[in-house]
Amino acid sequence: MAGMRALRPALAGLALVAAASGVLLMALVMTSDHAGDRWIPLVLGPLIGWSFTGTGLYAWARRPENRIGPLMVAIGFAWLLAELTSTDVDVLHSVGLLAETLPWTILVHMLLAFPSGRVRSRLERGFLFIGYGILLPLQLLFVVTFDPLSQRCGCPENLFLVARADGVADAAQATQSAVGLAGVLALAWVIARRWREAQAGDRRALRPVLLAGGVTVGLLVVTLAADLTSLNDTAEEVIDVAGEIAMGAVPFAFLVGLLRSRLSRASAVAALIERLGAGDGRRGTLHQALADALGEPDLVVAYRVSLPDAGEGYVDADGAPVDLAPTPGTVWTPVELEGRTVGALRHSAALEDEDPGAVRTVAAAAALALENERLQAELRARIEELRRSRARLVEAADAERRRLERDLHDGAQQRLVALALNLRLARSRVEKDPAAAAELLDESREELAHATAELRELARGIHPAILTERGLGPAVGALASRAGVPVEVGALPGERLPAPIEAAAYFVVSEAITNVDRYARAAHASVTVERVNGHVVVEVRDDGVGGADPAAGTGLRGLADRVAALDGRLEVRSPAGGGTTLRAELPCGS
């Protein structure tokens, strides 16, 4: 803030100088003999100069970090200097001649630099070079070769005249007009492109500036074109006056645009804190407050959350996932609280150019409020995860019933139907052809044995009786003995566990062994079920090919849901070529 204290008196000094210069200019023009239509330079000259310096100084004070204010002040003073051509005093008139094109050049500079105050791209730097590197030297060439006395206008002497060369002076001016015209047309194209690329928040600021700038530039084009084509004097004068009136309006448009563009950082933060303090905690309040503080209607607020299924990630206020990939013209700024990232804001990249650090300042002010909303967003995301997992469990149960119906229909039921038909046939033959009947009965017995085996297998898939009756140890032992590869059974709990835990642990082992048989191409597998720190930890390892993808199959997904329903965690480690380890941790207090 020390900078601010030093700035204020300096700005006040500049304001005084501008006011005094304007008054002096008026006095000088009033006493001048050579300016024909005196009221125009008399009134408009100082007015335009003052409007630029006045608005520029105000903008400078409000936004000290932004260079638009200083540029506006520079245009104001350049304008006053250029107006000196209307005076009678030789030296002042000569200085005015030198400064004639300067305000226009700085105006173009400002149009390019709005609203950040900085010129960034090579194209924009190219424009500045044309302005400062070509037009100004051409003006110098004009001044050292131009003799006002040759015009018979009763003008004062040109003190900078080195050698009168009318041809050179005319050529310099014509070149200036041509280059200026081309430059201004190119500028119109650049600005139109910038408008198309602008985010909604930036457009609000650009609108008044482009309107005023566009009108001025349009009049400038007409003026320059008129210079090149030599219209009659009255027409030229009408255009000049219209141009000057438009020019007088430009700084106000810039000021409106600048103040619209974003609030000054300090007042934005103050307003934000006040709003957050008065906030009713409803969803969307924080987003609206941040969007207003930054002048960004399209602002996106993302909350960093940690979820049981999805892990670390970003969600919106409703708990829906947010993609942190930047869209064109936008950037993400992280929001931190006590060294922790609690969220991120997506905003226009121009905002960071215009007022570096402003987003971080606003973000820091809102971090605590954001943390509160973050917790709610995390809760919503967790509920959403739960809802999805619950839906999956129901779906899995339905799918399981469909599978059972199909297995029953295609398996045991068909066998029993065939059995019924065989028995009917045997019954009809038992008297006439006992041998054929006996053969049919043998077939029937075999069919019945198959049907019984299939029903047994099916029942075990639904819920193994050995698990209910004897517990996890014998059930896992039975799974291991039926596996296609040797399975070593390690530590197992000696005591019975709660039924849901036993069932979940059993199905983890069952699914793992099924996968080992089907996919792992393993030579050996091992199973352990241990109690560790209030958890039952189930682990099945194999020495197979690895590369199992938990997201690919429904088996592991369903298993993960079953484990999550018990507040447990399922983990699959399966590096390619490095075997597969399926590990489930199930909380088990007792």
Binding site: Q414, V417, A418, L421, R424, S428, E447
Partner: protein, 129 residues
């Protein structure tokens, strides 16, 4: 069973030809054996709806014994297709489910009736023809 024998004797002059349509080979084999024992001539077997329609056109059986659940089509739709033609065969729908599971679908398909697979016999078919 005397009634069945009588029917069989009546029919001996004009043996009823049958096409069996089911994707389960065990059922086709049992049904063929049973129906042949009951005096029917099983002239063909088909495993799905498309081949059933093809075989019915080719073999022109008197009767098509048609399973409801086929791999490529719904048995009722196949029944409707089979019975739409002139000189269409009589169609009897069969299933390992009970007929009551299907309600009015059987009647709506143009089939003569329904026989549960476990209840299949020459007499049961005769009753529907």
């Amino acid at each position: 069973m005397g009634g069945v024998a009588a029917v069989r004797d009546n029919r001996r002059a004009v043996t009823t030809t049958v096409l069996i349509v089911d994707d389960h080979p065990s059922f086709r084999a049992s049904a063929r054996r049973l129906l042949e024992a009951d005096g029917y001539a099983v002239v063909g077997e088909a495993v799905d709806g498309a081949s059933a329609i093809d075989a019915a056109g080719r073999l022109a059986p008197d009767l098509v014994l048609l399973d409801v659940h086929l791999p490529d089509a719904d048995g009722f739709a196949v029944a409707a297709a089979l019975t739409a033609a002139r000189d269409a065969p009589a169609v009897v729908i069969t299933s390992s489910h009970s007929g009551s599971d299907y309600g009015a679908l059987v009647e709506g398909s143009g089939a003569r009736g329904f026989v549960a697979k476990a209840e299949l016999s020459g007499a049961a078919l005769e009753a529907l023809l």
